[in-house]
């Protein structure tokens, strides 16, 4: 069962070892930031395990998370309402409070 629902506020955490030798699929620029679950994409084998030739099971829920562009880029000068959506596996996400 997915831990988060559509509309939940989530925060991308940072507590992962540096690369290499680990394999990380969540882009660096989004780590530590908060966004909103836009959809649940389903469950997939863990690519960060598959990368080491391991089975990648159990499957992990994958979410599409929506962030405000102006939260992501300090000097963003586009439309206030612009968003960026990134697909992130569940083990990268923590619950975040409103307005985080």
């Amino acid at each position: 069962m997915p831990r988060f629902a559509v509309g939940d506020r989530v925060r991308v955490h940072k507590q992962f070892p540096p690369t290499p030798p680990s394999h990380i699929r969540t882009p660096y620029y989004i780590r530590g930031l908060s966004g909103t679950v836009e959809r649940i994409c389903g469950a997939f084998k863990n690519p960060e395990e598959l990368a080491f030739g391991r089975p990648g099971t159990p499957e992990v829920p994958l979410y599409r998370v929506r962030f405000r562009q102006k939260d992501v880029w300090p000097d963003y000068d586009g439309n206030e309402a612009d968003k960026i959506e990134i697909e992130i596996f569940e083990f990268w996400l923590d619950a975040a409070g409103d307005g985080a």
């Binding site: 940072k14 507590q15 992962f16 070892p17 540096p18 690369t19 290499p20 030798p21 394999h23 990380i24 882009p27 660096y28 620029y29 780590r31 530590g32 690519p47 598959l50 990368a51 080491f52 030739g53 990648g56 992501v72 880029w73």
Partner: protein, 119 residues
């Protein structure tokens, strides 16, 4: 204050100035098609590795190598290292085979536009 234990990988360029994007179309060289075919065989047919392993191997390249190599040179480097790690062949066997192939082209020019050091 939460400590940041992550580091930006060299390949992870989002938000950095990546310079000009080369939008030129080009044909694939024969060796590039062969690298692609080899990867398909190793993953889909022979189950010797996964595309995730290919990607990890590419991302583990030293920054200088990552920047200097072309797309399929990165691929064949990662495939080679993964198969070596997996024990599919040994470094000695690979070296002997490369010498054997090199000997077929005494003038150093390989067909199909293969770069020096290609397979």
């Amino acid at each position: 204050m939460e400590r940041d234990f992550t580091a930006r990988g060299h390949h992870d360029m989002g938000g950095l100035d990546g310079g000009e994007i080369d939008r030129a179309e080009h044909d694939y060289a024969l060796w590039e098609k062969r690298v692609d075919a080899l990867m398909m065989l190793c993953t889909n047919r022979l189950k010797l590795m996964t595309v995730d392993q290919l990607r990890k191997g590419i991302e583990a390249l030293p920054p200088e190598a990552y920047d200097e190599m072309t797309y399929y040179e990165r691929w064949i480097s990662s495939v080679t290292n993964t198969l070596l790690e997996r024990g599919v062949f040994t470094a000695d066997e690979l070296g002997a085979k490369m010498e054997e192939v090199r000997a077929r082209y005494p003038d150093g020019v390989m067909p199909g536009g293969a770069a020096g050091g290609g397979c």
